[in-house]
């Protein structure tokens, strides 16, 4: 049924990003059909190409990391040694032929390379450029250095996440990266809509610190309103009980359950085989359940421990109760529902073969949104892009190659 072109078909993105935040931003644009051209270098290989997982049956190598291959699907790759002025000239030609430029170097790096917004705008007046940096392009901390994992504590998320009475916790992933990357994609798309009506491009300054704080308003406003931050309270919720992740039968198996209101509690009590709990004074109302929450959780855990998380999930969902296994990476990869929805992508890759990857997290009824090709090998598209996009002759490309500009 998806017969129409993709939303961004015909749109070109010059992608100077690396690690995760920037690549996650341009992944969305690739999903939407943009031609995304990664500018990389063999002299300083993207961090994610050098991180595991590598396939068990193949030797490690920069084209074989599952991390890189997940978040760079649908993109192309060229190599340019941007420390060389001749390479910067090539990059400028690429930008001049692009609608969007995305970068996530430390603040000011693009300017120093001669690829700042003012330079690019002079080459192409309606260009949309976004910088995703840790602290933003302005302000007294703009030159501070930031790694993805550090954004979680910096944003305040760690101070309110954790088990009761335990230290601050992380998220388990570098959460500021996808949050920043998605916000970046929203900003680029909005700027493109503006450009479609006005002809005007623009520069977008995204601070990962700031985009990470926009997703914890309840904690921040609790402070600005009342001068108190929410305490670290494990998996509990002020407005739902029981609410948590409970031990299930099996080796380190767990199931998440949320009882959204008193009616759900009554249904849950029937699932437990103890319908009388619905009217029990200790548990009948949310206020009562919150007051007796330790006791309540013991009761839930005694029941969940006796069955697999999948069995608990099926029983509770049949009763209209929110529940699901605390899925491992294996559970997600083998989730029959996700499979039935066509969520996974299995495209041939020249070095790792066909592997399961995560696909596009939305569906469109008319536009053709999908992963169009596996992640690129380092520099795989250099010749084609230089010839077809940047309009260099074969002789010029050979010359650039010989002088190691295309490294």
């Amino acid at each position: 049924m998806t017969t129409d072109p993709a939303p961004l078909a015909g749109l070109r993105v010059a992608d100077f990003t690396w690690v995760w935040a920037g690549p996650f931003c341009t992944l969305q644009l690739a999903h939407l059909g943009a031609e995304v051209i990664r500018v990389e270098t063999a002299t300083r290989i993207c961090v994610t190409r050098l991180l595991p997982p590598y396939p068990r049956d193949v030797a490690p190598g920069p084209n074989r990391s599952g991390y890189f291959n997940q978040y760079n699907q649908g993109k192309q790759s060229i190599t340019l040694d941007l420390k060389r002025p001749e390479a910067v000239a090539v990059a400028r030609r690429l930008c001049a032929a692009s609608d969007v430029v995305v970068e996530n170097f430390a603040a000011g790096v693009m300017d120093r390379m001669g690829l700042g917004y003012d330079v690019l705008r002079a080459l192409r007046s309606d260009i949309v450029m976004i910088s995703l940096s840790g602290y933003g392009a302005t302000g007294p901390d703009r030159d501070k250095v930031s790694y993805g994992p550090a954004q979680v504590p910096l944003s305040g998320l760690s101070s309110v996440t954790g088990y009761r009475g335990w230290p601050p916790m992380h998220v388990g992933i570098s959460y500021g990266d996808p949050t920043g990357g998605l916000h970046g994609a929203v900003a680029v798309l909005a700027a493109l809509l503006h450009r479609s009506r006005s002809g005007e491009g623009q520069y977008i300054d995204l601070s990962q610190w700031e985009s990470s704080m926009t997703v914890l308003p309840d904690a921040i406003i609790s402070w600005t309103m009342n001068g108190v931050a929410p305490p670290r309270d494990g998996n509990r919720d002020a407005d739902m009980a029981p609410h948590g992740v409970f031990r299930a039968a099996g080796d380190d198996r767990w199931v998440a359950i949320a009882i959204e209101d008193d009616a759900a509690w009554a249904r849950f009590a029937r699932c437990l085989g103890q319908p009388e709990l619905a009217a029990d004074a200790r548990f009948a109302t949310l206020v009562a359940r919150k007051r007796h929450e330790d006791e309540l959780e013991d009761l839930v855990a005694a029941w969940t421990r006796a069955r697999s998380p999948e069995e608990t999930t099926a029983l509770l969902q049949d009763a209209g109760i929110a529940a699901f296994t605390a899925a491992t990476n294996r559970d997600v990869a083998e989730d029959p529902h996700l499979d039935a929805r066509g969520f996974f992508v299995e495209l041939p890759h020249p070095e790792v073969g066909v592997r399961r990857h995560i696909g596009v997290p939305w569906r469109m009824s008319a536009s053709d949104c999908r992963v169009r090709r596996a992640a690129p090998c380092l520099g795989a598209d250099t010749e084609r892009v230089l010839a077809e996009v940047c309009r260099y002759t074969d002789a010029e490309i050979a010359e650039l190659r010989a002088r190691q500009i295309l490294a």
Partner: protein
Amino acid sequence: MASALDGLRVLEVGELVSAPYATKLLADLGADVVKIEPPAGDRARRRGPFPGGMPHPEKSGLFLYLNTNKRGIVLDLTTPAGHAALERLAERADLLVHNVHPRDMAASGLDYERLSARNPRLVVTSIAPFGLSGPHAGWRGTDVVTWSAGGVAALNGVPGEPDLPPLKTFGDQSGFQAALTAAVGSLGALLARIKRGRGEHVEVSTQECVATILELTFEYWPYTQLVASRLGQKPIQPLCFMECRDGWIFLCAIEEHQWERFVEIMGNPEWAGLELFTNRLARGANFDALQAFLQEWCRDQSVQELYEAAQRRRIPFAPVSTMGDLVASPHLRARGFFVTVDHPVAGTVTMPGAPYKLAATPWLLRRPAPCLGQHTAEVLAEAGLP
């Protein structure tokens, strides 16, 4: 100055975080967003924080944040009159975003074919915990459930503490991820409409949005058949929380040059020269010993001084910011990050502002969140409804 989405007409039938944050992103960039609430109001109105902890439907900090720059109307979408009004409004709209559960969509008048027949240019974006198709489409999910179903909860825990359960992150993070993805999909469909002239139906599964952010862990299964565990130690260190005399800091010195400079900051202690700590992999393998030495030293430090000292040497440490630290940050103040909204009932509320700065079409605060039904008469009159 113009806004990026000036003139874009958006309807929202949303509760709590996902649909409301998706349309807030658009409203803050200039879209005319009309929020449709049931007579009892968005459930976010009943979640805090509230001033003094006293619940009040017009004073929820979460609601006030998620609904700035929108107008608000009340329609009872369980009635034929409500459906008729929704259809009339949808005839004039560019985009409708909702997070009504799939089981309740038809009864709420949210049928894409029907709305599209009345307005072929309309884009409709549906957000559901498990999407609109597939064997689990009718299943229910709040944040702890979808965060677990997408696989992130299972990654968060304490090595050596198998009795601590997989830990959810603070707040409705699945809702925010679904909102961001819904905004991306919606804007994509609006861009596609420029050439095609027709809208379409965009569908977002919260579970999928969470599975999309598993970083390097998802591929461990297809690439190596290994199950990622919250109980595993990090392979490289230091990348850890430490308690200082006045708060917590996050140590991040995983490159060798960063570690060497951190050792200098610590005054080159003898233990740092032990073979146990000779490189980042060794420091990961011997983290128990490393942690004890680091904790002993950090206990006497000040968070801010250590953070600044590390940053001067290009080591990416970060404070474990408290809410108070954020609001007091000179950097965030210089950038104008926090904004103060003046609301007719709740008074002034300071909240997070722009997640990005668009130079030509700035993020702009134009109006506070609507009181329940504040714009019902105005919006219905614009649509020619009584």
